[in-house]
Assembly symmetry: C2
Homo-oligomer: 444 residues x 2
């Protein structure tokens, strides 16, 4: 019999996580030690019901507070064909930021009307691809794009629905790499400089563009629900001013994404309901106060949908003691498959999946296998005594690990499996050494 | 007629860089504006003679000061089949850190005897691959590997030549992510703890291992030649102590790599000859003083061979003014093909390749196209007035950009061309959207 013993770290694993009497960690009814042996490591395991549950939670928490609300998944957090299919089934929309993400959506026959195209520098080819496919919305970021899109939509004989990405000058206090709502940002039309108003004015004069709404994105991850309210207030005050001057008001309002998740026991994140409450209440309050028609509400969770559903599995190799200094537990992955600790200083828990019941009497640093000192996944963390061959699990690995993975050191990228009810299916196979040379034409 | 006008930034481009009267930047006799149109952008252009020249410079500078010296290219800086072939032709050796790099070497029939296998956590499969292929040297990093390699070499009936990676506890003052020679490192056997001596003792007792030498690697990039001398002194004093106790002394000594290059006009790097002088002189001095036999000397440049030979070309899209704050020039690449600015705070120059003769009257920030505020390649840099369609060149992009590149935002990775004498050849083709879905099995 498997059980959910009092292992506090299980709180950051998928809800299906359990441990058998042997001490093996199970996810979605599958023994992770067995998965590691069968598919090799590093292996990214996603609990499929956990993803579906998050989709439903987001839809329910927002729509019960604001019926005309729509959940659009931010593909950049993690995307592949299996996930896109699942999101389609769950009735979510898709936020894409490139022709590649668009192509993935097209490949699973995702309904184009539910797809939003974001990005600060979409290329001509990508915009044409989007128009060809009759994409639902293009979120226009800047004047260059406004002009280009107007021209291309005319050429395609389409009147394209657009949103304006505006920067409300709100600091979300996320990492400086991922704070996007401030005035000094590469993204969007600033409100305070008058450029956002100018964008609306110019778009209204373009026959092939149909401005339907406003969008902001403040950064990610955002642990404070209050910053969304600041963003909503600034943006709706702008909307009211624009209505007065130009006679146009938004039918749609997108509050972006950036919803935080709990990576470590020490730092909880607000539940989805708290974000929904803050956003929906402020939206109703401000539209009422300003006399604006309540717009269709869009939110764009990415990380919050997939992060906790994903668990990375590694095999332990060398264990290195430096007496009086530190013990390094070396694993067979690292910054190539998860660059977040090196890039953002991201923190993770770690659990020995092959002996999850063992006392965590050791304090170790988990080092990757890449030839760089910065390739450390977790510093000074409690762990059971590690030996070569042990399977190590890093929870909350479902977002931004695989998408940012590289072939650094010519190491093939991991396989991805989806698990549910004791069954595993490979949704992306592991790269091979030959895959790494596939695009090379070097003569021998 | 092309000329080399007084454009100071050309100093950090490959030696073949020149500008025609139209203001187009040429590399290896090829018009970069034409290359950008023909092959698309982002495009990584490598000046092939510049790579060969650096190989020859390293070989010459070391061997004229220390005849028994050998230059081993550190593949992690950049590797593909064309480059491996070139390095073979130039008589260099190869430092590999994974089965993938090994497989690339095998694919071009690189002489196995000139290949060194490094890394802090080589897997069993990789060690077997190396033994099967009769690799020249395995640089043993830790006790786990020592035991494993002894077992595998026995199984293969091979007496494998090995070096020991030791940590001499010298701080190279490079970025904290890339400083590797200090005591608290995931790499190597520390000298000060007695573990390096214990490694030699244990290896001498393993019948299938033949200890031939010592290796250290202090970090990268290292701008001070003096730290190599500190490393040599500490390591050779260790060698003398070991000889006294165990009767073994190194026949080979590898001083690692980490040789710096000049990325920006503001920060020059020492010429190759300075590194050679510091290392060779100290090696001769210390072996003489300690009465050690002068060992075969190995150095492992990676970045220093390829960095300056490579130029990244991008196309300008949106140009965004935030009055009184900043002007952003948005390009069609960014952190997906060059994560070094986001990861290490790396700095670069930028030159408008389509109008290299224009006055640089503007100060701009060059933003990538990835959906992240941290995706900034160069901050506050002088540039000619940018317009959509301009081709922008970032020099010194030959090392650690392509190897660490990702498919973040589902954006295909760039094509790579080698240029020489006015001819370009594609050595790696650009990924396609379909390439990105190739490994996916998601049912539709």
């Amino acid at each position: 019999m498997k059980a959910r013993p009092s292992i506090p770290k299980l709180a950051v694993f998928p809800p299906s996580a359990e441990v058998d009497p042997q001490g093996h960690l199970f996810i979605g009814g599958c023994d992770t030690v067995d998965l590691a042996r069968r598919y090799g490591t590093p292996l990214y395991v996603f609990d499929e019901p956990a993803i579906r549950q998050k989709c439903r939670e987001f839809r329910a928490e927002f729509s019960r507070r604001y019926p005309d609300s729509h959940v659009i998944y931010a593909s950049k957090a993690f995307l592949n064909r299996a996930l896109a299919t699942l999101l389609k089934e769950e009735g979510l929309g898709l936020d894409v930021v490139s022709g590649g993400e668009l192509n993935c959506a097209v490949s699973v026959l995702f309904p184009p009307s539910r797809v939003y195209f974001h990005g600060n520098n979409k290329t001509r080819d990508e915009l044409e691809l989007a128009l060809d496919w009759h994409i639902g919305r293009i979120v226009v970021d800047n004047f260059h794009e406004l002009d280009l899109l107007g021209e291309l939509a005319g050429k395609h004989g389409i009147k394209q629905d657009i949103l304006f990405r505006v920067t409300p000058d709100v600091d979300a206090h996320s990492h400086r790499h991922t704070t996007t709502g401030v005035l000094d940002s590469k993204f969007g039309f600033p409100i305070s400089t008058g450029q956002a108003e100018e964008a609306v004015r110019r778009a209204l004069a373009v026959p092939n563009l149909n401005p339907v709404g406003l969008h902001f994105h403040l950064g990610s991850p955002i642990y404070e629900t209050g910053v969304y309210q600041l963003g909503i207030e600034a943006t709706l005050r702008f909307a009211a001013a624009v209505r007065k001057k130009l006679g146009w008001e938004p039918h749609e309002f997108s509050a972006g994404g950036g919803f935080a998740v709990q990576y470590t026991l020490a730092r909880p994140a607000p539940p989805v309901g708290d974000y929904a409450e803050a956003i929906c209440r402020k939206l109703a309050e401000m539209t009422g106060m300003l006399g604006l028609k309540p717009p269709r509400l869009v939110v764009e969770p990415g990380r919050a949908i997939v992060a906790r559903a994903g668990v990375a599995l590694y095999t332990v190799g060398a264990v290195k003691d430096i007496p009086g200094v530190r013990r390094y537990v070396c694993i067979d992955g690292g910054m190539g498959d998860n660059i977040r600790p090196a890039l953002y200083g991201a923190e993770y828990e770690a659990l020995m999946a092959s002996k999850a019941l063992a006392m965590e009497t050791d304090t170790v640093t988990i080092a990757g296998r890449y030839c760089e000192s910065g390739d450390i996944l977790v510093r000074d963390t409690p762990l059971a005594m590690a030996e070569a061959g042990d399977v190590l699990a890093i929870p909350v690995s479902g977002a931004y690990c695989i998408p940012m993975s590289s072939n650094y050191n010519s190491i093939p990228r991991p396989a991805i499996v989806f698990v549910r009810e004791g069954k595993a299916r490979v949704v992306r196979r592991r790269e091979t050494y030959d895959d790494l040379l596939r695009l090379d034409n070097g003569k021998v």
